[in-house]
């Protein structure tokens, strides 16, 4: 006990707590206590103006039968189909850029440009590109004789339109740079050895490049899935208002509407917690089973 007390008052301990304190206070106030608070809130009905009422599990029961919620879950998953597409695209761009070419810095800058741009401006730009009558995309389609759809007002085309925009914005961005860094870490001797053994380009890619990239792929994939479940708010808010007929509303957008538009704080918290649990389970699953496919050197 005395030793414990001595340790607590030793200068290193005091310094340790002091240095940690500013960050830890913020962590308590803005992260860990709010997590608990929102769990408590998910069992309440609260519109902020009147005192909160205990509601038991009714929020979760309502959620389970909420047709809109399931539609928005479907939308979110649909939009997440963009994750593998974008990852393959980023890998292809990285493979092209990994070659010793003239002007590679220029290419890299150009491909990276869309991803540094503020999201709202890019959303405005694409809303204009998708304009059914005078937007660039339908104009160009018209020139080759295709009558383009009214992209953002069509329940069929609104999601693919958002995905195409996402692909444009991400294909040369962070993930491409991460892939490029990983590619540059592959030892050249391996390729030389494979060449001597008569391996062709595809065989070299499959046997050397892909395994070497697997930790990067794993990292990018896990992060993209975590973000994907919480994504889609800004572009839908700016470009479609979540429509048409809710076809671009995501889970995150639904939480936003419930909490800050309709002031159903308890219901919003219960959706957020369900989202959290789903993300947690899927990430653990990815870790458990995706981790096996990763080959660390």
């Amino acid at each position: 006990m005395k030793r414990f007390f001595n340790r607590l008052t030793s200068s290193e301990t005091v310094a340790g707590y002091t240095f940690l304190l500013p960050n830890f206070l913020g962590f308590l106030l803005f992260t860990s206590l709010p997590v608990l608070a929102s769990l408590v809130l998910s069992f309440m009905d609260w519109d902020i103006l009147t005192p909160p009422k205990f509601a038991g599990i009714s929020n979760f029961v309502t959620l389970f039968h909420d047709k809109l919620f399931w539609q928005y879950v479907g939308n979110t998953l649909y939009l997440m189909a963009n994750i593998p597409i974008t990852m393959v695209g980023a890998l292809l761009v990285a493979l092209l850029m990994n070659q010793k070419l003239r002007g590679i810095v220029i290419y890299r800058t150009i491909y990276f440009l869309p991803s540094v741009c503020s999201g709202v401006a890019v959303c405005l730009l694409w809303r204009w590109l998708y304009n059914p009558d005078f937007g660039l995309i339908n104009t160009m389609l018209g020139q080759i004789g295709i009558q383009g759809p009214d992209w953002l007002s069509s329940t069929t085309w609104a999601k693919p339109a958002l995905m195409l925009m996402g692909l444009w914005g991400a294909v040369g961005g962070m993930n491409m740079i991460l892939y490029l860094a990983a590619l540059q870490g592959v030892p050249p001797e391996l390729y030389e050895a494979a060449e001597i053994d008569g391996a062709n380009a595809w065989q070299k890619f499959k046997a050397i490049t892909l395994p070497f990239l697997s930790p990067t792929t794993f990292f990018i994939g896990i992060m993209a899935v975590i973000h994907g479940f919480q994504g889609g708010f800004m572009s839908a808010f700016i470009m479609t208002n979540g429509g048409p007929a809710g076809s671009t509303t995501t889970i995150e957008y639904y939480i936003y509407n419930n909490a800050y538009q309709w002031f159903k704080m308890g219901y919003a918290a219960s959706i957020a917690w369900v989202l959290f649990i789903v993300v947690l389970i899927i990430t653990l699953f990815n870790w458990r089973f995706g981790g096996k496919l990763v080959q660390y050197n």
Partner: protein, 305 residues
């Protein structure tokens, strides 16, 4: 591919000794032709891709300089005549873009400074100092990194509403200062630093804060720069949180300012594109001149996260 080129260099230096071998020369020639062919294909693909990256921006620029009626012509004209530079003046005075800029810069600077300071102090504490409960607290930090923002956002919103911070700069800055991710990233970096310098400083009678300030921080400039870039960009582009906590026009940051600009001029495309360019241009310029730096930062910050 780079491997092939290394290979080439070696082969060329050895070449004279084997120059008499016809078969060898033929295979070298074939390889050179193949390499050149590959380079041409790569350039072509990259250029086509590059055009699709750039064209939307050119379209944006072209639209922003058109007369309002000229956007509805077919086929679209790429070089507007006359160029309506006046669109920019109109956009600039339609909503207070200058004010949005100041707000965004101020908030991003404050969040970044605060986050780098509190995160690096905490990270030093986690990485180098021994105290009871340290590892459990750190585990707690790690555990929260996967929690969706919307889970914590609701109670934080209620908390700020209770203390009257809604629609103030405090609401934009204070919750953003504390970051588990920043602490984690810096802690990982600090763990990798050699201890010799710290020991030397300790022997010279340097205080623990002195070691943090004079030894650890100067050694960690790459990691600090990465955290600074990420935090600044994150705050600069943050959309949902300012949208929730800010109502009055003069406190809006650029993203939500631009969004309310869209609300006012829904389909006035020349004006909307001019406003978007006003928002984008400085960022693009900063990026183009610091391109290398961005790339390094991503490589450092991304893999460790």
């Amino acid at each position: 591919m780079s491997s092939m080129q290394n290979n080439d260099a070696q082969v060329i230096s050895r070449a004279p000794a084997r120059a008499d071998s016809d078969a060898y020369l033929r295979s070298r020639k074939r390889k050179l032709v193949r390499d050149r062919f590959l380079a041409i294909v790569t350039h072509t693909v990259l250029i086509i891709g590059g055009i699709s990256m750039i064209v939307p921006f050119l379209w944006m620029l072209s639209t922003s300089l058109k007369e309002p009626g000229a956007v509805f012509t077919f086929p679209p004209q790429w070089i507007p005549k006359p160029a309506m530079w006046d669109n920019y003046a109109r956009a600039w005075s339609a909503v207070p873009f200058g004010r949005f800029y100041l707000n965004s810069i101020f908030v991003a600077l404050a969040v970044t400074l605060g986050q780098v300071f509190t995160s690096s102090l905490a990270a030093y504490s986690f990485a180098r100092l021994r105290f009871p409960g340290r590892d459990n607290i750190f585990l707690g930090y790690l555990a929260t990194m996967m929690i969706p923002g919307s889970v914590t956002m609701i109670p934080v919103f209620i908390l700020l509403k209770t203390i009257g911070w809604i629609d103030t700069y405090w609401a934009l800055i204070v919750p953003g200062i504390f970051s588990a991710y920043g602490t984690f990233m810096l802690r990982q970096f600090f763990m990798g630093l050699p201890r010799d310098l710290e020991d030397a400083a300790k022997i010279d009678g340097c205080s623990l804060f002195g070691i943090y300030y004079r030894v650890i921080l100067p050694l960690s400039l790459p990691a600090l720069a990465t955290l600074t870039t990420f935090t600044f960009m994150g705050s600069w582009n943050n959309f949902m949180w300012p949208l929730i906590v800010i109502n009055s026009m003069e406190k809006k940051t650029l993203p939500i300012g631009l969004a309310s600009f869209q609300g006012l001029y829904t389909t006035d495309w020349t004006l909307l594109m001019a406003g978007s360019i006003i928002v984008l241009l400085p960022v693009l310029i900063v990026f183009i001149f610091n391109q290398r730096f961005f790339v390094k930062g991503i490589q450092l910050g991304g893999v460790k996260g």
